[in-house]
């Protein structure tokens, strides 16, 4: 593996992407943007999986990524449908305006 970037670089990038995603979920207010941030978190995990798989010379990590992509696709289908269902009622997808349920 000479000449290739060391695994720690990939893991640092993946941790950074994960943090951007997590902070985005907490700070952003638009449901679609929040959802994109969640996708970023999942993809950060995918990057970590392939980086570790390369380091350990095993394909396990790369196979796992396929599972995660499938799950993320299913989640996107359901999630966007839910967002549309809310939009039809409210004409907005802003998380701050969902005040019906609050104590």
């Amino acid at each position: 593996m000479t000449g290739l970037a060391p695994t720690s670089y990939f893991i640092a990038l993946s941790a950074l992407l994960f943090s951007i995603g997590a902070v985005g979920v907490l700070l952003r207010r638009n449901a679609i943007v929040i959802f994109m941030c969640i996708e970023l978190m999942l993809n950060a995990a995918n990057l970590a999986f392939v980086a570790f798989a390369r380091q350990q010379l095993s394909v396990d990590g790369q196979v796992i990524v396929f599972f995660v992509m499938t799950v993320a696709a299913a989640e996107a289908a359901v999630g966007l449908a839910i967002i549309i269902a809310v939009f039809r009622h409210r004409q907005t997808v802003n998380a701050d305006e969902m005040r019906l349920l609050r104590w």
Partner: protein, 483 residues
């Protein structure tokens, strides 16, 4: 792992549920008219069959697929609890769906798939399988929470649950990635054996994995401070779905939580015990304090379920055979009494009139003695009054923690339990002494609800009076975990 490693016994319960779900999906195409009750019956038969199949395989200790998917006694215990939960939820759904005018075959398919996901979580011995089971369960429940489309509250609850659930999955998945980096595998057995002699390079990644997994699981069991979604989602979702979320999701998440933390990450217990200690204390205190202030019964039950997550974490801290058995036993008891309480909530509601405020229960005890008696049993059991399963469960949990020397934790837990009596008995006071000018009238007798109430009330009392049998079952289940 080779192809010859396929273990059919381990697959049987899950396959039965899968086949039933597909059958219901197809049968839905041929049902004419709005009546979908027949689909409910097919689903019920499937879940009962899966439960029986699990029970028959008790002791078979089937495991295969490179040790990633097991049907040990631990998994079977949870399969039984989950099938029971699913079946009782189906029974209360059939009446509830008619009363809110929601005729949809997809409801039953999603319910079956959610139970399937829960069973995968209980049987998984691999972090990736835990993740897949969790997602199967969660995605089905996002749909169920929002299935009542004309109702804005339902859609909003679905959105909140979806966003926070997916957020939690992100943490869990990143934790799994860190575990994969540390151990080169996601299967729990090799992780457990590698942890026994952890190298210096592995330790930071292993600790990061532990912390991230902990956050992911804490979200799913609704432990404070990761509980904020629960009250909103429980209130907004259709009540039958709330029952499944409060019981099934919590049980399945605890199944995976305990297997991962006690069995695989047990060697790191020094590092994670104090975090769970904090989660337990926060969950109990916040859950009970907030429940006192609630006027809506579904929100009150939501906070009560957060408090119960705290009690269950006390058993997890004990992290031994006795504590594990107490957690399993309490989850069974929690399942029957909570499902029963939600069945009462559904029985009191009527079309276009949810009657979910505690004040709506005024005078109910005298006008509907059967409902009143059942609610009395469930509330007293949750409050931890002796003779009911809620008390025996807490007793086993707390004594397991005491034996491990967690005296202060148990003192806090016991104080919390005393505080909780206030709001549970508050409902009873309303029922038997309260007055409301707008009293709820004309609650029709509904056969499925009555059956559910009879089963859960009987189980709440029977498990409380004769805990030995169920406790021995739980002990034997936990033993198979360390074997």
């Amino acid at each position: 792992m080779t192809l010859t490693d396929i273990s059919w016994p381990a697959l049987v319960p899950g396959l039965i549920v899968t086949v039933t779900a597909v059958l219901v999906l197809i049968a839905d195409l041929f049902v004419e008219g709005p009546d979908r009750e027949g689909l409910g019956w097919i689903s019920l038969v499937g879940l009962v069959a899966a439960g029986i199949a699990s029970a028959v395989l008790w002791g078979s200790n089937a495991g295969g697929f490179g040790d990633t998917f097991l049907l040990d006694r631990y998994a079977i215990f949870f399969n039984l609890v989950l099938c029971l939960t699913g079946a009782l939820t189906l029974l209360i759904s059939m009446d509830y769906l008619t009363s809110i005018n929601l005729a949809s075959g997809e409801y039953y398919v999603m319910l079956l798939l959610a139970v399937l996901g829960m069973m995968v979580m209980a049987q998984a011995n691999d972090l990736i399988l835990v993740f897949l089971g969790l997602e199967l369960m969660s995605i089905a429940i996002y749909v169920l929470a929002g299935i009542w489309r004309p109702e804005l509250r339902s859609s909003e609850a679905a959105l909140k649950y979806f966003l926070l659930g997916a957020f939690a999955s992100g943490f869990l998945l990143f934790g799994i990635a860190m575990a994969f980096g540390a151990f080169g595998t996601t299967t729990l057995s090799p992780i457990a054996s590698q942890l026994a002699h952890l190298s210096v390079e592995q330790r930071p990644l292993a600790l990061a994995a532990t912390a991230l997994l902990l956050i992911g699981f804490a979200f799913k069991v609704a432990a404070a401070p990761f509980h904020s979604w629960a009250p909103d989602v429980y209130e907004g979702a259709p009540t039958s779905v709330t029952a499944l979320m409060a019981v099934g999701v919590k049980a399945a998440a605890f199944a995976a939580f305990a297997r991962v933390f006690i069995y695989a990450l047990g060697a790191l217990a020094v590092d994670w015990t104090w975090i769970i200690w904090l989660l337990a204390v926060l969950s109990m205190t916040i859950g009970n304090a907030a429940a006192i202030m609630q006027r809506n019964i579904k929100r009150m039950l939501a906070y009560s379920s957060i408090a119960h997550a705290g009690y269950l974490l006390v058993g997890l801290i004990a992290a031994d055979q006795q504590g594990g058995a107490a957690v399993l036993y309490t989850l069974l008891g929690y399942a029957v009494m909570t499902l029963g309480a939600f069945a009462v909530v559904i029985a009191v509601g009527r079309r276009g009139e949810p009657n979910e405020e505690v004040s709506d229960y005024a005078g109910l005890g005298f006008r509907y003695p059967f409902l009143g008696m059942c609610m009395t049993i469930f509330m007293l059991s949750m409050a931890g009054i002796p003779m009911f399963v809620g008390f025996t469960g807490k007793f086993f949990l707390f004594s397991a923690a005491i034996e491990k020397g967690w005296v202060w934790l148990v003192v806090i837990a016991a104080l919390n339990s005393v505080v909780s009596v206030y709001y549970y008995v508050g409902v009873l006071v309303q029922m038997y002494m309260g007055e409301n000018p707008r009293e709820v009238q004309g609650i029709a007798q509904r056969p499925y609800l009555t059956a559910t109430l009879l089963i859960t009330a009987f189980a709440t009392v029977a498990l409380g009076l004769f805990p030995t049998w169920a406790l021995n079952l739980a002990k034997s289940a936990v033993q198979s975990l360390s074997a």
